[in-house]
Amino acid sequence: MATQLDESVVGMTSSPQEFEVERGAIRRFAEAVGDPNPLYHDEAHARACGYAGLLAPPTFPTTFRVALPIEIDAARILHGEQEYAYTRPIVAGDVIRCATTIRSVRQREGSLGKMTIVVIETTGTDRAGQPVFTGTSTIIVH
């Protein structure tokens, strides 16, 4: 039984989870997207550009499968919008601590009937406690 999806869940935050960024995972991700950027494949090139290791592509945090603070039936979810904002790129070797927070819940009548629009924020901080990225997902629950 999924949690009641209404304003009462706004502000709820998941327990933090740590994700180790592995260079093999970066390469496989870039390969699946068909993105040959040498920063994601060639460590020597990434280092020559001043990075500690391979860079992760901008959408790489999608691989951090962070639990939500509430249960939502995956079969009823449509992905409406996604945003990633960075203070610095993620690099191989980073250990990113992530947590998700429910930012808003809105009900709307749409073409699929009654829908609930949920905005979920994911924050990622590094081992030094510095923020690295913020992900914002808008999902439509129908």
Binding site: F29, E31, A32, L39, P57, T59, T63, G80, E81, A85
Partner: protein, 141 residues
């Protein structure tokens, strides 16, 4: 695809598009594995039809990945993609050829950022995924 040139780039400019190769079912299986999104509507036709889809559909995040590929190639090794935001408005299927387009909407000399309006489309002027990227370029020392 050449990196963009800070000195010549202007607001309103349309950049050379990136045409991605046709999306294949194999690519969707690879993306499922690499991303950890194992929703079977992206890889299993029976599951897709059960939920009323005409067939398997590509992950929305794959299209966002295409726009990230484009934005990353434009900034090259001059900096990084500081922000990427997209809206998913249309379904993408295996066999689709997506063209990524960008138009410069802002150039901030102080912050050394370039803002792009982005879209990925199968047919001209019908974006399936659209959004915005901010490219952060390093200060020249």
């Amino acid at each position: 695809m050449p990196q963009l040139d800070w000195s010549t780039i202007t607001v309103g400019q349309e950049l050379p598009p990136l045409v991605k190769p046709p999306i294949t079912k194999k690519q969707l299986v690879m993306y499922a594995g690499a991303s950890g999104d194992f929703n079977l509507i992206h890889t299993d036709v029976e599951t897709a039809r059960e939920v009323g889809l005409p067939g398997i559909i590509a992950h929305g995040m794959l299209s966002m990945g295409f726009l990230a590929h484009y934005a990353g190639e434009l900034v090259g090794d001059q900096g990084f993609v500081q922000r990427l935001k997209v809206r998913f408005s249309g379904m993408v299927f295996p066999g689709d050829v997506l063209t990524c387009r960008a138009k410069v909407t802002a150039k901030d000399e102080q912050a050394r950022t370039i803002t792009l309006k982005l879209s990925a489309e199968r047919e001209a002027d019908k974006p399936l995924t659209s959004g915005e990227a901010v490219l952060q370029l390093r200060n020249q020392s």
